[in-house]
C-alpha cells in the first residue's frame, strides 16, 4: 500500500520526475566514468606481480646501467630470472602515433611475463628473428598491422629509422594486461648502437628480476642495491608494484583533481533532487496538513517524502549505472592512447549504488523536516 502511494506520488508530475531521473542518471554515469578513469590510472599497479622486482639507476630513469650487472644480480640469493630492457621511445609515422616501445631480452622477458598469451608458432618465429617484434593486440588493431608486416619506427632518443617485422601478437591472460605495448630484440638494438653510438652500447635501462618468494622481496632488493653501492652506477631496486605506483604518484595532482570533481558531481545530483523534493513538498503542504489532521504522525509524512526521493534516485541510479557500460566503451575508443586498460570494476558499481542511496536519503531529509515541523493550521491555510 505504502509503496503504491510512493510510486503514485513520485510520478504525479510526470515531466518533472522524468527530468529529475534523467539528471540523476547522467550524474551517476559521469561519476562511474570518472571512477573508471581513476582505475585506469592504476591499471599498471593492478597488473604488477609480487614476484617481480625492478632495478634501475638510482639517479633517475634516464640514466642506464651496465650490462655486466646481469651476472652479478643473478648470483644474489632468491633471484630466479633476470631480464632487462631499454625504453626506446620511438614513434610510428607521426609523433602523435606514439605508444610504449621497449627493447628487451626476449626469452627471459617472456618467461617473466606469463600473462602475455602468444601462440607457440608466433613465439618461436619472434624468438628466431632478430629484427622481429612483438605487439599487443589493441596496438595492432589501432594501426591495422598483421603478422608479417614490416614496421618502421622513428627514434627520439636513439635517432634514425628502425625497421622491424611483426612476428607475434600477444593478448592478455587477464583484463588488466596492457595490450598496447611493443617489444623487440635488445640484441638488434645493441648491435645498431655499437655501430652508431658505441659509448651508449652495452647499457640497459632497467633490469626486471623474478624472485622465488614474494616475502623475500625486501631483503633481495636490499642485497642487490648493496652489491652496487659506491659504484659508478648505483642501483635502486623496488617491487614492480612500487615502481608502477611511482608513475601514478607523479600525476597525483591531476588524480586528486579528478577525485574532487567526482565529489562535485555528487553535490550536483544532490542539489537537483533536493530541488525537486522541495518543490513537491511545497506544493503539497496542504495535503500533508490534511494527513496530519486525520492522525498520521510526522514520522509517517517524513517516510512518505524520503521514500519518494529514494524511488526517484534509485530509478535514475540504475539507469545511469547501466548506461556506464556503453559509455565506457565509447570513451575507451576515444582516448585509447591515454588509457590502454579501461575496465569497469565491481567497486565502481558498488560506489554508484552507495552514492545513489546517500543522495536519495539526503535530498529527502530537508523537505521532510520542513513538512514535519509545519503546523496544521498553517499548512491548511497554504494554497500554492
Amino acid at each position: 500500500m505504502l509503496i503504491r502511494i510512493l510510486i503514485r506520488n513520485a510520478f504525479r508530475h510526470k515531466l518533472r520526475s522524468i527530468l529529475t531521473i534523467t539528471g540523476i542518471a547522467i550524474a551517476v554515469l559521469a561519476y562511474g566514468l570518472l571512477h573508471t578513469v581513476i582505475d585506469a590510472w592504476y591499471a599498471g599497479v593492478a597488473a604488477s606481480s609480487a614476484n617481480r622486482l625492478v632495478t634501475r639507476n638510482s639517479i633517475s630513469l634516464v640514466f642506464r646501467l651496465p650490462l655486466s650487472y646481469r651476472e652479478k644480480i643473478r648470483v644474489v640469493d632468491g633471484v630466479e630470472i633476470v631480464s632487462y630492457g631499454n625504453w626506446f621511445g620511438g614513434y610510428y609515422r607521426d609523433e602523435k602515433d606514439f605508444f610504449a616501445n621497449f627493447a628487451i631480452d626476449p626469452v627471459s622477458y617472456l618467461n617473466l611475463y606469463p600473462e602475455y598469451k602468444i601462440s607457440e608458432q608466433e613465439k618461436t618465429s619472434f624468438l628466431k628473428n632478430r629484427k622481429g617484434c612483438l605487439a599487443g593486440k589493441k596496438l595492432t588493431e589501432r594501426f591495422g598491422w598483421e603478422v608479417g608486416d614490416s614496421i618502421t619506427l622513428t627514434g627520439t632518443i636513439y635517432p634514425g629509422k628502425w625497421e622491424f617485422v611483426l612476428n607475434a601478437v600477444y593478448e592478455g591472460r587477464h583484463k588488466n594486461v596492457d595490450e598496447t605495448m611493443f617489444f623487440f630484440h635488445w640484441d638488434y638494438f645493441n648491435e645498431t648502437l655499437k655501430k652508431e653510438r658505441p659509448f651508449s652500447a652495452d647499457t640497459v635501462g632497467f633490469y626486471i628480476i623474478g624472485i622465488d618468494k614474494p616475502e623475500n622481496a625486501a631483503s633481495i632488493a636490499e642485497a642487490i642495491d648493496a652489491t652496487f653501492k659506491n659504484s659508478l652506477a648505483e642501483t635502486l631496486t623496488e617491487t614492480e608494484k612500487a615502481f608502477q605506483l611511482g608513475f601514478v604518484t607523479m600525476s597525483e595532482a591531476i588524480l586528486k583533481a579528478i577525485q574532487l570533481v567526482s565529489f562535485v558531481i555528487i553535490v550536483i545530483i544532490l542539489v537537483v533532487v533536493a530541488n525537486t523534493m522541495v518543490m513537491s513538498v511545497r506544493e503539497r503542504t496542504a495535503e500533508y496538513a490534511v494527513l496530519k489532521t486525520i492522525g498520521f504522525s510526522g514520522v509517517h509524512i517524513a517516510a512518505l517524502i524520503i521514500g519518494e526521493s529514494m524511488i526517484i534516485t534509485l530509478i535514475g541510479g540504475t539507469l545511469g549505472t547501466l548506461a556506464t557500460y556503453p559509455a565506457a566503451a565509447v570513451f575507451s575508443n576515444a582516448v585509447g592512447t591515454f588509457f590502454p586498460v579501461f575496465n569497469i570494476t565491481i567497486k565502481t558499481i558498488v560506489m554508484d549504488a552507495i552514492v545513489t542511496l546517500i543522495v536519495g536519503l539526503f535530498a529527502g531529509m530537508f523537505p521532510a523536516w520542513r513538512a514535519m515541523s509545519i503546523r496544521i493550521s498553517e499548512g491548511l491555510r497554504k494554497i500554492g
Binding site: 508530475h13 515531466l15 518533472r16 527530468l19 529529475t20 534523467t22 539528471g23 547522467i26 550524474a27 554515469l29 559521469a30 566514468l33 570518472l34 638510482s58 639517479i59 633517475s60 630513469l61 634516464v62 640514466f63 621511445g89 609523433e95 622513428t154 627514434g155 627520439t156 632518443i157 635517432p159 659509448f199 659506491n230 659508478l232 648505483e234 635502486l236 611511482g246 604518484t249 607523479m250 600525476s251 597525483e252 595532482a253 591531476i254 583533481a257 579528478i258 570533481v261 562535485v264 558531481i265 553535490v267 550536483i268 545530483i269 542539489v271 537537483v272 533536493a274 530541488n275 525537486t276 522541495v278 518543490m279 506544493e283 582516448v335 591515454f338 494554497i383 500554492g384
Partner: protein, 388 residues
Amino acid sequence: MKLLFFYSFRNLSTRRVTTALTASGMALVVFVFAAIIMLAEGLQKTLIETGSYNNIVVLRKSASTEVQSIIERYQASVIEMQPEVALDENGRRLFAKELVVLITLQKKGSGSSANVVIRGVGSASIDIRSQVKLSAGRLPHMGTSEIMVGNSVAKRFKNAGLGDSIFFAMRSWKVVGVFDAGNTGFSSEIWGDAGQLMQAFRRNAYSSLIFRAQDASSLPGLKCCIESDPRLTLDAMIEVDYYKKQSEMMATFLRILGISLTAIFSIGAVIGAMITMYAAVANRTAEIGTLRALGFGRMNILMAFLLESLILGFLGGCAGLFFASVLQCISVSTTNFQTFSELAFRFSLSPGIIVKAMIFALFMGFSGGILPAVRASRMNIVEALREV
C-alpha cells in the same frame, strides 16, 4: 522591460530555497569548467613564459626535449662561432652550452619521489634568461660542486633548502643559492656548473645550446646553415616555440577532460533549471492568465520567464567564477609526461576564461528556461484564469 525585470527578479527572491539550489547547481558546473580550463591555461602560460622570443635553442634532430638530446662538444663549438649569436657590452658571447638530466628527489611531507630537472649551465646562462633572479644566497662558483635551486624545488623537496646538501652521482652538492624565476619552468629546476655535472654523470656531450640572437628573424638563415653542414645533425628553434610544444599534450588532455566533463555536468544543471522553471510556470498559471488579460502580449510573458532563467544562470555563473578565482592562489605540481619531469604551475584566470564561463552559464540558463517559457506564453487566457 524594466517592469518585466522586476517581476522576474521578485519571483526568484520569493522562492529562495529553490533559487539557491538551482543556481548553486549551475555554479558548481561553471566552477568545474573554469577550474579545469584554468589549469590548462596555467600550464601553458608557465611554459610559454619560460621561453623568450629572442633566444634560440639548438637540439639534436628528432629529439623533442632537452633530456633526449645529445650535442657533441665540436658541434657546440661550431654553433658558438655563428654570426647570429649576440654579444654583451663586454664583448662576450651570450651563448650557453647546457646539460639537462633528470634526478629523482624525495618530496617533503608525502616522501614520494619525483623527477627534477638538473641543468648544467655556463656563465652566460643567467644573462640569457632575464626571468631568473637570485632570491637568497649567492651564485654557485664555476668549477665547484655548488648548485642553486629554483624556489619551487626549495619549497617542495627534502634537503633542497639553502645551506643543505643533495647527494647524487657519488658527490655531495651544496645548495648555495635559491633563485626565483617567477611563473616559469625554471623555478622547478636545479642549476650547477655544466663542466662539473658532466664529469659527475660521466657524460661527454651537452644536451642543448641556448643563445641570444642578434636578430630573431635570422632563424631561417641559421636553420639553413645548420642543415647544409654535414657535421651537424641538429635543429634550431625559437625558445618560446620549444616550450610551447612541451605543454601541448598535457594541455590538450586537460582541455578534453574539462570539456567532456562539463558537457555531461551541464546537462544535469540544465535539467535542474528546467525543473525549477516548469514549476514556476505551473504555479503561476493564474498569474499568467491575469497578466495576459491585462494586456501583456505572449512575447512579454516569454521574455519574463526567459529572463528569470537567465538571471538564474547569471547568478550561478557569478558564484562559480568567484570560487574559481579563489583557486588562483593555489599552486599545483605534477609531472609533465612530455618532459618526464616535475613542473609547478598555478591556476590562471584570464578574461577569455571569464567570458567563456559566463557565456556557458547564460547558455545553461537559456536552454533550461526556453521550453518552460514557451509553454507559459502559449497558455490560453480563459483556461489559465480558471486554474486555482
